[in-house]
Symmetry: D2
Subunit: 459 residues, 4 copies
């Protein structure tokens, strides 16, 4: 027999398959702590408002705390014999303290209750995720700091473009993660609104003190419209989108770790403990972790599309379709948490081959832009300089030389503006440090960025 | 200690978190029957080709069957101490029969093994889903048959358009489901190809008889390129897409059941056993099932996007990202199976209000097209007839009458072509039966369609 | 001959098909105003920093303004003979003023230039969209105000639940739109960052004053890492997500307008000027506009998925894939703008049938919750009250009566706690006004919400 | 004044904004040839059935052909003054031949007409796309044939795994494209069904010969249910999905071309004519084409999601939301066509560096699996062999040697089963040719695959 909080109006027993299909306890049990926290706040307020007595409130909240402890310890079996976690908590409460427990749901509906529980839950996970993002950021900053002198080719279109500091490259990811933080923090603001008091859809008929409950639960404000409050899942969408962008960022890091781990690049070495092997090829050491993170990106995108689709075209107010918010949410939470954790640890277990990176940055005409800029300083217009250097590069390719390997005579055959000082100018480190502009790869600037990041991270 | 099928080349023990993140046994255990089925076929072939002895093959396959029975009975604990289900089966085999078990993996890699397992699994679930689709189709045909005389308004843009038979409306869903069948059957063809023998990516060095294994496992053919075979997940995408379209169809049926259940429409009554109530509103009887099916549509779309994203831009051949095919697949399988089952049962528990449907089909000028067609038969061009009838409708609205309530005099004031016979012409049943064209709502045609469907379904 | 800003290094002419495929001018011409605005700011700064002379800057910026005016007037033919709008502007400049124009690109790359242009563009469209959202909000508030006395059934699961004010229902959408505003404003903050100075990827070698350019262009700050700056499209994703949620909200309004326009509901009448007809059915008047808005929701979701997919797994820094940000962005901009405009106008052209809404709210036991709350006030626990009222409702259904049509005797047979005062209690207006809690449908509360909204909107 | 085919019932003129928003002629003009082809077949049938005269049919069809020629030549201005292309054609016909033209729409609605037009269009584009796929397939086969002797490392996880023939790698893409062909062909079957005769939704009242029209237009059959026929867009979804998978395949090829073009890999050289440069970096030669194809993958995924979303939860039968099928379809068609064309041409303009590929395949222990298989042949179990070879590889790494560079003595220290014959066994070409199993990389097998492909392609 399935336990429900409705039924007086029904003549037939619910079909077994229907119970199974309809029940959410299989997944919404994850909300039990939030459900009880919300119920306690609600019941204290009911007492303060004189809707129940202080003694009743005390009995109810004590019993709820006991149930919470039991759930923490795994003492209950949460199966499909309850419709959902809300029903389980209420029914268990009534079993424990009898009729007084039947008063808890006064002035409340599952519609506003579930909205409350998810908000409390999302608030909780965002705080956790913010901590994990900081761990990944810290990993990046430590890597940047510890490898400050490493020079590498900066790429566009996967083609070597200009030499940069590896630290500068790593700091780009720090910036992305800072935006992710910001996005989650903004989501948090929209999450942190109390829906309780909206009841089924039209507001409660009892004289509830919503502000008191909001304060008790640490919310920043109360919802302004009951019909919106019970049918609003924007904040879950916000969370799923923030998570999608975060995963996209992680997928980019991952792509680079995979490519850099290839024998052809050989830029990075992931420690044995963070790689896996093959069941058939004894020599294989595979960068499974970044591959898996990259692969899991699609999963969070899917969670986002799932809820966007479910919400499309729903009339007001609550519709059962919205129950589908939870599994998408939980899947994204689990995915994001483990991926951040793994990424933070993984970054602590890589080592860079500064020799291969340096060598790569010195082959492929990465200083061609600097040569053009040199010519501008010698009086050419930028467009003309660009054209001239393009021709010099073509000449160098055909003669299998790098730019700094050309003789002054060879260079001068393209333009007389080139002088002996060009060789110093084309030195890789000079090229890097010349970009001494805010946001640039010049080592002073990068050093400042690391310092700023350390301050932000408190490390 | 986690058990793996690699490691000789590794100096450090795999990190605990890595094992947890990397392990797929938490979900791929669902493939155990397929894994063992495939292994037995492989080992028989190894013996036939003289790569192992008949006695070894017999020991291996017997032990595998024992393991299968143990798994069927839930005798093993499948936790993260094994990397995946393939490792579990192989390690358990070796525990049972020692070194002989170590020969099973000869000429095989997990890359082609997992491709095989998923193919066997998808084949299995498609067959199951085809059966469930037939159940829903049967429900529709029985409903159509049992409510053959029910007349209802056909809608476009949710506006009453022309009267139709309810049976005709229901048969539209039958057609959609027939296409779904077709789509799964086509998927099946692409699934039913043996990848084994591709080994890691380049093909096996052993003299395997792939055709024999294919025959043994009931495949229609063997894969033609080993690198493609281990990195191909098209058939999973095919499955996810077929499932997305199916869910879209179910969402349309569901939308109609929800709307028709509203008090305003009152076209359909879902039995108590297939509805649920409210924790606060004692009068509520909600059509949760169709709402939930509609809501789950997004979930399967999400699964599709998840894998499409994961596969985007992956170089050849196998990459770990592909491990993410499984949970999306399993989630879609579970969703589609339960939704079909629920829909089939739900359709057996609805009753239609033929009075309300009939009444609705007689209000709202649903016969206006027939009046225009009447005028065409009296010699007007269709465009002129359309314009004239538009004006008559406007007149009728302003005079709060239906078309058949207008006097002949009133009608003749718009065109003298209208005669007394117009009243018979505008009768709802006449309008329906006039559409006696293949595919039309005329009762002869609908009767034929039901008969054809019954034959197709063997009912 | 296609005009390009590169080529010195190339030996072969670009293939015609390649030019066609590669060229973005077909769509990025939309950015011309932003491109020129950015170029002028860049050139003024170059002069201030002494990289070009004041006179050169003056010639360049004047010529750019002339080109802008020409483009405004449609005087140029922007075809595939230019690679992109940036090339067009620079080439046209050089045509006009010769070699001096060749200096404009000093210290700049198309990579940071295009990032700048899109940021300026997105900033511009967000401001426009914020204005349009306010128009829709205003439409809602005016509708709510003008129909303040209209009572309607509040729905959950499309089933009548509790009576509410139509104004309260409409205000729910106001709340959604307020969140949309907020989301776009947050996006704006992330948009409003200057990327210029990042050059190709590593920062410029010239002594650019980035802060000056930022101030000139009204940006709030400058990007902190050049590699991130040229490969960051987060802000476009933010925009597409904000737009997806907005469209989801519009799809919900639209769904309701379509359903309410059905003959069965008959709650709303859209004026002829905002409906369309049928080519065959002369009587049809279809709510095409809300249907089309609802249908366009998927389109913006698609734009979001398009860019999320394109960005997945891209290594640093700029990759050509990112060119695909623009058409998705432009499509979403056009869709959102027209849908908001149409919705604002449409809402000004609907009228509600207060009779049908009122009648609907009085049939279907919408006061059952209030009866339960009544019993709570008479001393019952809520759960008991819910059960009792469920039974009363069942009795009423079987006797074809509404709750207020039951005799006191009949009611008392379920519980003696019911007295004569129950009839006043069950009055629809009483039920509404009893929800006199912040966020509830009580008329005082709704009046306050309207007043607050008017203040926010300045109307 | 906008021209419409309805209006008699309307009192107010349609709002200008509504016309703009509602009109589809801006994009559905692409269907003009199909619209006219369908109309001619319809009118011939009307005459055959005696609904219009032969003379009328002749006048109508001649005029339609004239209009078609005018449209071919761009003689008409198709702006928003017509609601859609169907209205344009009909109105223009009536202008040309007067009242007789007003008879064309007899027995037809735009609902079945537009379904017909899209089907004819999709059939047309699939045929075109099938041709383009064959071109890409041909490019692959020619590349494989012309580079038959090139040896390269096969990769899993982007790590060198086993040596393969480049031709074998290229043939993997041939297999993918063969599946794409199949998928489009299956779509074609579902497309090739005549919807005409379904009229608005319920079937026509005229005695139409649907089979005759189907035959005339080359359809394989007629739709079986009119309500389904006007609200079915499955075939467009089928097309969008087939296109999504195709793009996913192209994105994988593209990823490889991009990675292989990197200086680090240096496996492939794309000719100058198929690359582009940088506005700032004179040395850059970027693989824009594969990047852009990869980026456009998301676009087609977005088109698919767009229509899946639009169709979700739509009640029967036609709803205006469905108008949103067209732009998603057209966008996907354009994207797929150009990407295939570019890919076919691009593949004809690449050259492989057989030296770098060969060198890469000889470094990284790619023969380790073969060494394990060797030990199996010498009597070891596979698992033991795998473990032993893992240890040999570790030893080799630490001694900076490849496997074939180890002395026999060194190898024997791991197992005495290794003999002098191991050196021949570990030769790269031997390793390749040992995989002489159907689907394997052995050169005999690859040669057969190329021969088979040539036969299939008729080259």
């Amino acid at each position: 027999m399935v336990q429900k909080v409705w039924g007086g109006r029904f003549k037939e027993e619910t079909d077994v398959l229907v119970n199974k299909f309809n029940a959410s306890i299989g997944f919404d049990q994850r909300l039990y702590a939030q459900d009880i926290e919300g119920s306690i706040a609600h019941c204290l307020m009911l007492a303060r408002q004189g809707i129940i007595t202080d003694d009743e409130a005390s009995q109810i909240s004590n019993a709820l705390r006991t149930i919470k402890r039991g759930l923490d310890r795994g003492e209950f079996r949460l199966d499909d014999s309850y419709e959902d976690i809300h029903t389980f908590v209420e029914k268990t409460l009534i079993e424990k303290i009898g009729a007084i427990g039947e008063k808890l749901h006064t002035g409340r509906s599952r519609n506003d209750q579930v909205a409350l529980d998810i908000r409390l839950y999302v608030r909780h996970v965002i705080e956790k995720i913010l901590g994990l993002i900081k761990e990944v950021e810290t990993s990046f900053i430590l890597l940047a700091d510890n490898n400050f002198d490493v020079v590498m080719p900066g790429y566009t279109h996967m083609q070597r473009a200009q030499p940069v500091l590896l630290a500068h490259h790593l700091l780009a990811y720090y910036e992305m993660l800072k935006r992710d933080e910001k996005r989650y923090e903004e989501t948090l603001k929209r999450v942190n609104i109390l829906p309780l008091g909206s009841a089924a859809l039209a507001g409660s008929t009892f004289d509830l003190d919503r502000e008191m409950v909001a304060k008790e639960l640490g919310f920043e404000g109360i919802s302004q419209n009951s019909m919106d409050a019970v049918s609003d899942r924007d904040f879950v969408l916000d969370f799923l989108f923030s998570s999608s962008v975060l995963m996209m960022h992680l997928s980019r890091i991952s792509e680079e770790l995979v490519i850099w781990s290839s024998q052809e690049f050989g830029f990075v070495l992931i420690s044995d403990a963070f790689c896996t092997g093959s069941s058939i090829m004894p020599q294989k050491k595979n960068p499974d972790l970044p591959e898996l993170i990259r692969g899991k990106t699609g999963r969070v995108y899917g969670d986002l599309i799932s809820l966007l689709t479910a919400m499309k075209g729903l009339p007001l107010s609550y519709n059962k379709d919205m129950q589908e918010d939870k599994e998408a949410l939980f899947d994204a939470v689990d995915t994001v948490e483990i991926c951040l954790l793994v990424m933070a640890r993984l970054l602590g277990n890589v080592s860079f081959s500064s020799e291969r990176m340096r060598a790569a940055s010195e082959k492929g005409f990465l200083t061609a832009t600097d040569l053009a800029d040199y010519l501008v300083r010698k009086g050419m217009t930028f467009r003309e300089a660009h054209e001239v250097v393009g021709k010099i590069v073509l000449f160098a390719i055909e003669n299998k030389k790098e730019l700094h390997e050309l003789t002054l005579h060879e260079m001068k055959s393209f333009t007389i503006r080139i002088d002996e000082d060009v060789y110093d100018w084309l030195d890789t480190i000079s090229c890097i440090n010349r970009r001494n502009i805010p946001g640039g790869t010049g080592s002073d600037m990068v050093r400042k960025s690391i310092a700023r990041a350390k301050e932000e991270l408190g490390i």
